[in-house]
Symmetry: C2
Subunit: 140 residues, 2 copies
């Protein structure tokens, strides 16, 4: 399955370790993670060399191309919020996950868009399970 | 004119003083700022009592109703990113302003959506001028 992974780059890298865990796991399962660079520990540095227009065009093209978008929303981020809204608009299935206890935007936690789910996780195991369930429902 | 003002609440209140300046100015000019509560110094507190669903429904309804959306994007925010994408999708004119020097998401700085402008400001006077030009073009 083509997964678009949405996580914060400019907004802050506090949860980059969990991004890495998520993307590596899906790749090991055989999924094509279009935006796997978001999980790269050097993402902020490597993305600096790309023009804003190039990043915008590439990322919006990937959102259009994906089968599902999974966003890690523990870190506030303009890009992640934008990508979630774009995926919703395109009718893509969306899963937003965040670490229990962080203060989440009500535009996400209160979102009633169809095909959008929001889950809090307390452990890697719980997060993995939430993603499993989400992906299983898509593949039927 | 009905203006939707988009600024960070949950994502951080570092630029709340400039939100206040912006909204007070537009109200003094006779504009109807639908989301004026975002500029309230107690926004975080007053919004806590509202359910996530209520906030989501109210804010998306206001974005649909507005003549233009103006976002202050100096603080990374999921809600602000979501609202910008929603406004773009609805064909609303959008102006994103940010304080010079902050690290802005390339999904915003590189955005090529029609009717969307992005401006950096170094002073209140410069910001006021950018908004003036944007609003004048709409009423022009």
């Amino acid at each position: 399955m083509k997964i678009y992974f949405s996580g914060s780059i400019s907004g802050g890298r506090d949860h980059a370790a969990i991004y890495q865990h998520m993307v590596a796991r899906w790749q090991a399962q055989g999924h094509n993670v279009l935006s796997s660079h978001v999980a790269d520990p050097l993402a902020l540095e490597s993305e600096k060399d790309r023009s804003p227009r190039e990043v915008y065009e590439r990322d919006t093209d990937w959102v259009k191309e994906c089968d599902a978008l999974i966003a890690e929303v523990s870190t506030p981020s303009l890009g992640v919020g934008y990508e979630i809204a774009l995926a919703v608009q395109l009718g893509k299935p969306v899963l937003c996950v965040y670490r229990s206890g962080v203060q989440l935007s009500k535009m996400i936690s209160g979102n009633s868009a169809p095909h959008l789910a929001v889950e809090a996780y307390s452990s890697e195991a719980e997060l993995d399970e939430q993603v499993e369930v989400f992906l299983k429902e898509l593949t039927g």
